[in-house]
Symmetry: C2
DNA sequence: CGGCTTAATGACTTTTGGGTCAGTAGGGAT
DNA sequence: ATCCCTACTGACCCAAAAGTCATTAAGCCG
């Protein structure tokens, strides 16, 4: 080889940073995996995004799959710890609580970064049952528990009508998932109007959960 | 080559069938794409499933992508024409109509083949905007229209309470989509009980849509 | 039955991209 | 200043799979 330019022209930046690398690589990986899923994701491109050479990735991660798992794990835990915060304050009517919970969920799940994660897990989840189950624990399980608490409290307060929904409260937040899915598939073709949809969701939800004579 | 068996042991079948090929190839393709999605799908395996050589595929389809599009198109139209049937008979209470519609939807979408198609479009839909939009027209658009009709009729009959749901009736069927999604992600980890979920769905739905004093 | 058209074949070529490793150079220690 | 450890590089390697094409033979026609 006559290769003349093994050394790139130079940027004044430091080139050896063992400690900072993993984070940078993961960040680049997340971005790439979110855009392309696992199969179409390209390691050279990840390296490029991270501003390093492809080989460097392999100093920190054994394989594409290992990097993928690390990236997902990172995402899952970060999204989760975020939502740790806003669950403490349990005050107000059941209506208010559910309203708040849903808004939160739409923000996170439909508008936020959690959507990309969701898409990947939906698409590629089979290859990593443990990530799936921790995701399940942190989202569905946790959410279901919270909903049950709210509903039980609502019954005590005389605001909520008992019924089969108590056993499977996921139906209450299901429309948010539908919205996210719709957006994923049809964002280019036929977007849904959020405000309108949200109103409809609330309307259906409340008039199914609240006692007939309750608030409003 | 010492290969003795270029000619498979014999089935009395003819080997030259220009007319039958496309259908066979598409069928094999559908099966393969449903199992593996676009990227992991393998043309040699498709050929094998169709009982032909790989090269033969290229006599009928220009590329893997072209075959994919043809297969999906085929699926979309076939799934749709299936459901053409059971919409005509509009009799009974609004409750009955919705109940019937939902059952139908769960059957098709959650238990049936439509789920695989749904997954693929969710995953790989970006590459084919026209398929997406015809899918949208045939499912969402059509379903929305039907729901609006049922609701309008329900209002006329005094069974349905007017509200924002009329504008965005998708919220009514959203839980079915949630169920399908849940199944896709967590089928191994934590399956949902269908009967129970369905009851909860109906309960939420009806007590939001029906007038307080209506049926039941 | 021999000639001819063309469906079909499958070995071969090409492309793609994950993974490797001999070489380069940053920068602390002496 | 220069030595040495090691983070880093990127050309290379190789497997898998998409795509090609010279060759084979099915089956019609005269």
């Amino acid at each position: 080889m006559t290769d003349p330019d093994t050394t790139p022209p130079a940027s004044g930046k430091p080139r050896r940073r063992k400690d900072a690398r993993p984070g940078e690589i993961i960040a680049a990986g997340i971005s790439e995996f979110e855009e392309n899923g696992f199969h179409k994701a390209n390691l050279s491109r990840i390296a490029q995004k991270a501003g390093i050479a492809k080989g460097t990735i392999y100093l920190y991660y054994e394989s594409k799959e290992a990097l993928f798992l690390a990236a997902i794990e990172e995402q899952v835990t970060s999204v989760m710890s975020e939502s740790e915060a806003d669950l403490g304050a349990v005050n107000g009517t059941t209506r208010d609580l559910l309203n708040k919970l849903l808004k939160n969920m739409y923000d996170r799940f439909v508008h936020g970064e959690a959507q990309a994660l969701f898409r990947i897990l939906l698409t590629e989840g089979d290859r990593m049952p443990d990530v799936i189950s921790s995701y399940h624990a942190m989202t569905v399980q946790r959410g279901t528990k919270l909903l049950k608490m709210i509903l039980a409290r609502g019954i005590d307060r005389g605001e909520v009508r008992p019924g089969p929904v108590l056993e499977t409260p996921q139906v209450l937040i299901a429309p948010a998932v539908y919205f996210a899915v719709h957006k994923m598939m049809f964002k280019n073709a036929q977007p849904l109007d959020f405000e309108q949809y949200f109103e409809a969701h609330l309307d259906m939800l409340f008039n199914g959960v609240l006692k007939k004579q309750a608030a409003d």
